[in-house]
Amino acid sequence: MRFSDQFEQRFTEMLTHYPTKRSVLVPTLLYAQDEVGFLSEEVIAEIASRLDLTELDVRNVISYYSMLTTKPRGKFNVQVCRNISCLLRGADELIEHCEKKLGIGHKGTTPDGLFSFEHVECIGACSWAPAVQVNYDFHENLTTETMDRVLDEYRKKVQ
C-alpha cells in the first residue's frame, strides 16, 4: 500500500533513531492513522511486515493507546475533556450540548461522516478549561456559545 512521500521520509528517518526497528511502531501507527483515517487491516499488515512483527503484535499495541483506532471516524473528531479541571468549569454541560448539537453520543459519528464525538481524559489544558481537541487542534476556555462557533468553523471548512 502507498503512503505519502512525507510519511515515507519520516518513516525512513525514524528508523535511524533507534537500535531496534520496533521502536518506531507507536509514532508510525499514529502517522499512518492520520493519512488513512483509521488503522485498517491493510495498514496493520503493511506496518507489521515492514517492522518484522506479527499482525497480532501490532494489534496488541494498538489496543493499548487511546488515540489509535481500528474503526473509521468522522473527518473531524471532537474530543471533549471530562477530567477534573474541565469538570469543575462546565465539561458536563459542554458534553451535553455537543451531543445534542451533533445528535450523537460518545464514540458516535454523524451520518454525513463529518464529525465524530468522544469524551476524553485530561488533554493538558487544565488552566484553560473547559477544553476540547478537534483532531489535533486545541480549543480552550469554551462556553456552549463558543463551542457552536468552533463546530461551525469546521463545518465551513468542507463547504
Partner: protein, 439 residues
Amino acid sequence: MATLVSHPDEVRIVSKRFGQGATKIDRYLELDGYKAVRKALGMQPDAIINEVKNSGLRGRGGAGFNTGLKWSFVPKQSVKPKYILCNGDESEPGTCKDRLIFEEDPHSVIEGVIIAGLAVGASSGYIYIRGEYRYLLEIMQKAIADAYAKGFLGKNIFGSGRDFEVYWHGGAGAYEVGEESALMESLEGKRGVPRIRPPFPAVVGLWGGPTVINNAETLASVPPIILAGAEWFANLGTPKNGGTRLFCLSGHVNKPGVYELPMGYNLKKMIYEVGGGIPNGRKLKAVVPGGSSCPLLTAEEIDLPMDFDTLMKAGSMLGSGGVVMVDDSTCMVKFALRIMKFYQHESCGWCIPCREGTDWLDKTLTRFHSGGGIRKDIDNIQYLSENMLGRTFCPLGDAAALPTISIVKKFRKEFEDHLEGRPCPFEKKGTVEQLPVFA
C-alpha cells in the same frame, strides 16, 4: 495556543523566555541560549552531577527525587550505550506546564538533555512528547533540526570533539506511559506496561542500557543551575527543595494559569493572591495540591509552604504542580467518582489490584452517587483503596487509591448525605453557573 499569565510574586527561571519568541534558535541564543552546554563541556562529569545535586533540584514530574542523585546512580562504565530520556508525556490531570515549556522554550529542554548526557556519559537522548501534543512535537522537531544545523547536536558538538544525538518521539495517548518504566516500554514500541524494579532504569533502562529519565521541566531547570550555580538555585527555595517550579492553577479559581513561583510558596497565598481567590463569592472546599493522584487538602489545611517535604508531612504530595481548587458547590462523591473513572480508564490491567480495584471502585462510586449506596459501601471504598496501595508494579494503583482515601476520610459526611436513596444534594438541574473565563 495556551494563554500566558503573570504575577509580581513570580520568579522566572524556567519561564524566563516565555512569550519572547525563543522557539527560534537565533532568539534563544540572544537570550543566553546554549551557554550552559558550552560551560558544561568544560566541566568534569562529576562536577556537573554535584552542581545539580547541591542545587536541590528535585524531579518535577511528581516523585520529587533529587535529580543529581539520580544521575549519580548511572554506572561510570557500561558495555551497553547509555541514554537520556526526557519525559514529556504530561498526562496527570491538573497539569499543563510541560506543554508551555515545549511551546515557548523547546531549546531549554534540548540543552538540559545534552547536559544530562555529558554528566552521565551518554551520547544520545530521546524527547518523548505525548501524542495529543502534536503541535508541540512539530515545534520540537524543528528545534532539534535547527540545533543540528548549528552544529550543537551530532558529531563534534560545539567543536568539542564530543558527539551527542537528540531524537524526538511521539506517543499515542496513554496516561500510564508517564511512569518511567512504562515510558521505556512505549519508546521500545510496546504496550506501556510497567517493568519491575530493581533493576532501576539508571542501571538497566532503554534496550538494557543505563538510562536517566527526567521530566521536561526538570531538564529545563538544569541549564540555569549550570550557569548561575547550585547555591543560587538552592537559595531560591526552601531547604532540600531548590529553585522554583511551574504551578498550574485550575478549577474554581479566578485567575487560572501557569505561574512560576519559588519552592515553598504558601498555598493559601497562591490561591487567594496569585490565583485571585474563588469565583462567584463561593467558598473553597478542597484543593488537589499536585495533580489528581495527590490526597486532597481541605480549606482548613492550606496554610502551608508548597514543597515536597511539607506536603508529605501534611499527608499529601507536591506531585506534578497541578493545583486544582474545588469550591463548596461541588459534590465530593462525584469528584471522587470522576477521579476513579479516570484511573479505571487508564489502568493497563497488568496488576490485578489496580485492574480490579479501580473497576470495582468505579462501579461502587457510580451506584453510590446515583443514590443506590448502602452504609457499608463507605468503608468498603476505603478498604478497597487501601488494599491497592503498594501492590502494583507502577504507582497507578496508588494514584487511584490515595485521593479516594482522602476524600472518604475528609468528606465522609457527604457520603452519608447520599445514603438511603437520597438524590445527590449538589445536583441542581437547570441552574448551572457559568464561571468567568480569565483571558
